[in-house]
Amino acid sequence: MAKPTIGIFKFTSCDGCQLSIFNLEEEFLQIAGLMEIAYFQEGQDAPGGNGFQAGAAHFDLAVVEGSISTELQSKELLGIRENSSRLITIGACATAGGVQALRNWADVSKFKASEYPAPGAVEALAESTPISAHVHVDYELWGCPINSAEFSEVLASFLLGKTPGVPGYSLCMECKRKGIPCVLVAGQAPCLGPVTRAGCGVLCPSLNRACYGCFGPKEGANIKALMRIFQGFGYTENQCRLMLDKLNTYKFREMEEKG
C-alpha cells in the first residue's frame, strides 16, 4: 500500500510551528518513514513560495501554518484545499489569525504609510484571517507555537483514523493535575488560564507566571466573566483588552462576543 502523502505549507507566520515539527527529532524521521513528504519548503534547500499548481499533486494530508494576509495567499490556499483530502491548521496564525490580526481593529493604510518608504508596494489585505475563514478545516491545532507532542498525536491519529486526544478544555485542568498552586486564586495574578485551551504543558503557571493565552480560547470560554474578575483586581477595561489582544485576538474577540 502506498504511503499517504503530506504537504506542509505556510502563509503569514514566523515558521515557529514548522520548527516545532523539526523539534520532534527522532519522531520527525518516523513521519518520513510513515508518510511521503511531498511538499515542505521549510525542510528543503530550494527557495520558493507555496508555488503550487492546482492539480499537480494530491495530498492525503495538508498541514497549514500561517494566516491569510494577501490576495495571492487566499488563492493559493484554495488550490491546496482542492488538492487535499484532509486539511489541518497548526498554530495561532493559521487557527486564529495570529498577532498580525491585531490590524483587523486598526487602519492598515496608516501602518503602511508610517513603516514603508513605498506603501503602494505592500500587498497586505486589510485583515489577517485564520484559514477557517476561507476553506473547510478538518482539524485545528492551537498554540504559539504548537506543542510538538500534540502535532505528533494528530498525525498518529490521522494515520490510525481516530479522533486526536487533544484537549479543548481549560488550562486550569492541566494546572490542577500537575498540582500547581493557582496563581490567580493564591497570587491574585491576571491569569488567562480559565479561558485558555490546555495543551502547552502549563509552561507559565509552573514558573509562577500568569498564563497569557497563547493557546487561544478554550471551548465555551466565558471571557467577560474573567475580565470582570480582573477589573475587581484593579485592572482597567483597557488593560484587560490588551491582555486578550495578543496572539489569538481574532478568536478571543469572537468568543467574547458569543458570551
Binding site: 504511503k3 527522532e26 519522531e27 518516523q30 513521519i31 518513514g33 510513515l34 505528533s152 498525536e153 498525525l155 498518529a156 494515520l159 490510525l160 481516530k162 486526544g165 484537549p167 479543548g168 478544555y169 481549560s170 486550569c172 485542568m173 490542577k176 493535575r177 500537575k178 498540582g179 500547581i180 498552586p181 493557582c182 496563581v183 490567580l184 486564586v185 493564591a186 497570587g187 491574585q188 491569569c191 488560564g193 480559565p194 479561558v195 509562577n208 478554550k218 471551548e219 465555551g220 470560554a221 466565558n222 466573566a225 474573567l226 474578575i229
Partner: protein
C-alpha cells in the same frame, strides 16, 4: 481498651519516624502561596502557618501561630494520590485482527500514610472507597494504592472561612474511617487509636498519659471550633431543594459568572470523573498497519464540553446545564447513587473557584429567590 496518649509537640517527629518506617508520608507543605499535599518529611510541615481563604482567594499569612496546625485544607486532598490525575491502564498491541493487552507496570512503592486528614476528607474517603471498591468489580488501580495505606486524622480546631463541614455533618471532629486521630492541645497532641494498624503505630511511641484533663481539653477545643464557623449549608433540605428547582432562573445568573474552567471539580475530594484515551506514538505505528500503544486515564470534569460529547452530539450544551449538573451531583445525585453525600463541606470549590462561586450561597438563592 483503645490506646490513647499524649505526644509532646517537640516529639511530633517521633510519630513521623514511626510512620516513615513502613510508609511514604503524604502531608501538608507550604508552596506557591498555598498549603499543598506532597510526600513530606517532618521539616516540611508548615508549622504555625495561618491562611486566609475567601471565595476565589487564598493567602498564607506572615507570622507564626503558637499552634502547629493553624491552617485549613488547601487545594489538595488524598485524591491525587489514590486516584492519580493521570495513569496508565494498560498497553496494547494490534496486528491485523489480533490484539494483545499488557497490564500497566506495577509501581513497587511503599504504601502511603496520609498525615493529618481532616474530618471532611474522611467522609470523602469513605465515599471514594464505596465508589472504587464497593461495586461488583473493584477498581484495581485504586485498590492497589488504597490497600496498605494508613490514615492519620487531624481534628480541626479552627474552621477556615469557607468551611461548612459542621452543617454538612462531617466535621470538625473525626468520627470514623481513620487509623489514628490527633487533636492538638496546648503543649502536646492527644493521639487516639482508630484501628489495630493505628494501635501498632502508637505502641511504638512513648506516649504520656491521657487523663480526664486531656479529654476535656479536646472537647473544649472542638466545641469552640464549632462556635466559630462562618459558613453553613441547608443540608436538612437536601436533596429536595435541588430536585424542586431544576428550572429556577438563578441557574442563568450562575452561568453569567461561571468560567466553566473546571477548577471546582479538580479540587473537590469527591469528584471522581475521569476519561480514558488511547495513545499511540508515531514510533508505535508500523508501515504494515501494526500498532502498539497505551491506554491512559486522566481526571475529567463535567465542565469540559467534551465530557458530554457522544456519538453524533453533545447532551449538555449550555453552561447553565453544566453547572447545574455539577451542583446537583454534589448535593443530590451522589446520595441517590451511593447513599452518601457528594459534598463534604470542605469549601475547596469556593476558595479555588477564580470566580468565587459559593455553593452554599447559590443553594440559598435557590431556596429564597
Amino acid at each position: 481498651m483503645a490506646i490513647k496518649g499524649t505526644l509532646k509537640k517537640a516529639r511530633l517527629e517521633d510519630l513521623l519516624a514511626v510512620l516513615g518506617k513502613s510508609h511514604r508520608i503524604i502531608g501538608p507543605k507550604a508552596e506557591g502561596g498555598a498549603v499543598v499535599m506532597e510526600e513530606i518529611g517532618y521539616k516540611d510541615i508548615p508549622s504555625g502557618v495561618r491562611d486566609l481563604q475567601w471565595p476565589g482567594g487564598c493567602r498564607l499569612l506572615p507570622g507564626k501561630d503558637s499552634q502547629v496546625f493553624s491552617f485549613s485544607p488547601g487545594p489538595d486532598s488524598f485524591k491525587r494520590f489514590l486516584h492519580p490525575p493521570a495513569s496508565e491502564l494498560f498497553a496494547f498491541k494490534r496486528n491485523g485482527a489480533k490484539i494483545d493487552f499488557l497490564p500497566a507496570p506495577k509501581i513497587a512503592e511503599r504504601p502511603m500514610a496520609f498525615f493529618t486528614v481532616r474530618p471532611c476528607d474522611l467522609s470523602a474517603l469513605k465515599l471514594y472507597d464505596k465508589i472504587f471498591l464497593g461495586g461488583p468489580v473493584a477498581d484495581q488501580a485504586y485498590e492497589s494504592l488504597r490497600r496498605g495505606s494508613l490514615v492519620v486524622a487531624l481534628n480541626c480546631l479552627y474552621p477556615g472561612d469557607n468551611c461548612f463541614c459542621l452543617s454538612m455533618g462531617t466535621g470538625p471532629e473525626a468520627r470514623d474511617g481513620f487509623d489514628i486521630q490527633m487533636t492538638e492541645l496546648e503543649d502536646s497532641f492527644l493521639l487516639e487509636e482508630g484501628s489495630a494498624k493505628g494501635a501498632e503505630i502508637l505502641e511504638q511511641l512513648s506516649l504520656g498519659q491521657a487523663g480526664a484533663d486531656e479529654i476535656s481539653a479536646k472537647r473544649r477545643r472542638i466545641e469552640s471550633c464549632k462556635a466559630a464557623f462562618k459558613k453553613s449549608i441547608a443540608a436538612h433540605e437536601l436533596p429536595g431543594i435541588i430536585y424542586a428547582n431544576l428550572g429556577h432562573p438563578h441557574w442563568d445568573d450562575i452561568a453569567r459568572r461561571d468560567l466553566e474552567c473546571g477548577n471546582c471539580t479538580q479540587v473537590c475530594p469527591t469528584c471522581f470523573c475521569s476519561t480514558s484515551y488511547d495513545y499511540a506514538a508515531l514510533g508505535g505505528i508500523a508501515a504494515g498497519g501494526a500498532v502498539s500503544g497505551k491506554r491512559f486515564r486522566k481526571w475529567d470534569s463535567c465542565f469540559s464540553r467534551s465530557f458530554a460529547r457522544v456519538h453524533s452530539g453533545n447532551f449538555r450544551l449550555s453552561r447553565k446545564a453544566r453547572y447545574r449538573h455539577w451542583m446537583a451531583h454534589k448535593l443530590a445525585y451522589t446520595q441517590a447513587q451511593f447513599g452518601l453525600s457528594g459534598c463534604v463541606g470542605c469549601g475547596r470549590c469556593i476558595t479555588w473557584c477564580p470566580a468565587g462561586i459559593d455553593i452554599t450561597a447559590e443553594l440559598e438563592a435557590l431556596r429564597h429567590v
